[in-house]
Amino acid sequence: MHGSSEAASAVLFGLNPMWVAAILFALTYVVVMTEKINRAIVSLLAAGLMIVLGILNQETAIRGIDFNTIGLLIGMMVIVAITRQSGIFQFLAIWATKKVDARPWGILVTISLVTAVTSALLDNVTTVLLVVPVTLLITEELKVKPYPYLFAMIFSSNIGGTATLIGDPPNIMIGSATGLTFNDFAYNLTPVVIAILAVTLIPIYFIWGRHLRATPEDCQRVMQFNEHDAITDRRLLKQCLLVIGLVVAGFVFARFLGLEAATVALTGAALLLLLANFGHDAEHQSKHVLEAFNEVEWITIFFFVGLFIVVHGVDGTGLLKLLADKMLALTGGDLTATAMVILWSSAILSAIIDNIPFVATMIPLIKAMAPTFGGPEGLLPLWWALALGACLGGNGTLIGASANLVVAGFAERAGQPIRFVQYTLIAFPIMLLSIVISMGYLYWRYL
């Protein structure tokens, strides 16, 4: 990397900044993909080089950072950090299990639903981090293989996350860049997400579900779990549910209130911090506020910051406009063809590479297509295609989304590893199935 950046700085003197930016951008992608260097370091370093090499100055670089995305992410992370302490996730998983009398296939369905719904409202990684352990305990008690459950949880987490503005980082970025609201996402994506989740369970049933068996005694033991004892702090739980309710209401009425998503999330976070710390002494408050802030995934946040600057630098040189024109030339400026290219390419690429940099790049690229399709309004089908492709594509391989890796980590430690190839062989076709459904939906509703 060092050698190349020296080459780039030589190029800068008198040569095309588009090339310098393009090389820096490509290098960022490649180095992030190799995972040899932490992705936050890579993106911040690349952002710094964008400025040092003169593609951007600091002022324009900062303008490239989408603080609405950053604020929304941080706000939701703080809310989740506090909420997870209440035990609500374990409560939901046990409650869902008992609703179906602890029957193995029933549990798979209800836990998938719980995972999908919580992933739609909160961050996917946190959801699986909190639901997987209790699921492993339940499968261990039932003496059934955890693999099908973990597989279904990866899918339901990524599928559920697709449903809302706040469910998955690609949606947060798209919403923030386009002004599409929480309601727009719910109205346009939730219906197809429900269909996809239902259809995804069919192959899972035929591959594993119909073979799952547990003895009545083992089911009985799980039925004796008392979900109310999973709640560790009732007062905190009530506060969390109140704030999450207010935040969701804030998202729903955001346009009416004239508020942006980051304002809603960060104000919600501040309110929850206030409620949870109210009446405690200063030392206790400092400790708890610090704990909540420490739970924010700063690697992700700084990765975003650097990435926004890098993409802004590339965008400023006109490279993305050029790529957009190339893509339009390829599709003949036809909306249907363009939407399909975006849907399929984002699905397949998101299965292999991190969907965050991909979406960060696609956003300015799609925006540049506005004149061809009659202004920003005409781009709507393309945004939905990007959201569906980028979020659902993450199911395709074990490295497609961070939630997948978290589940794999648990599986590994539980002595039931999820192998990359074995996973991909089944997951990739099921992911493609979800994209076929999305294709039909886009075609039927928008094209």
Partner: protein, 152 residues
Amino acid sequence: MKAKLIMNPHPMTLRPTDTVATAADRILKHHLRHLPVVDEQGRYLGTFSVYSLLKLTLPKAVLDKHGLHNVSFVTENVEDLAQRLGGRRDEPVKNWLNIHEVAHPDTPAMEVMLLMLHGRTTSVPVVNKTSGRLEGIISFWDVLEKLIGENP
């Protein structure tokens, strides 16, 4: 005072292939908390302890470091727990070892005591630095005896 002067040079040991049942028997019979496990050359591999037995009694899902911190919702009774332990009695001990910090024959007494405090253990294996062989074991009682027993 060095570790080699405090240690018990003939501790009871296990082989990695010994079963959990064998280990549990010895722990119960001799009221030991820690049994060092050594290979055929006498090299220290780890320690099977009462904590290993506790782990064997619990579901794997609750042992994960990112796992459940509160399991008060599980209503298993002693029979359920005993059944789980019973189901694992023929497993070799090598799957359930704790790797403790070890002392060397020349480690000073104070360092040994600090190892006990920080490692939250009541016994420290004494291992030869070059060969990796187990030379002895220092229990909390050995230390106490030296501290109090010999200076009345």
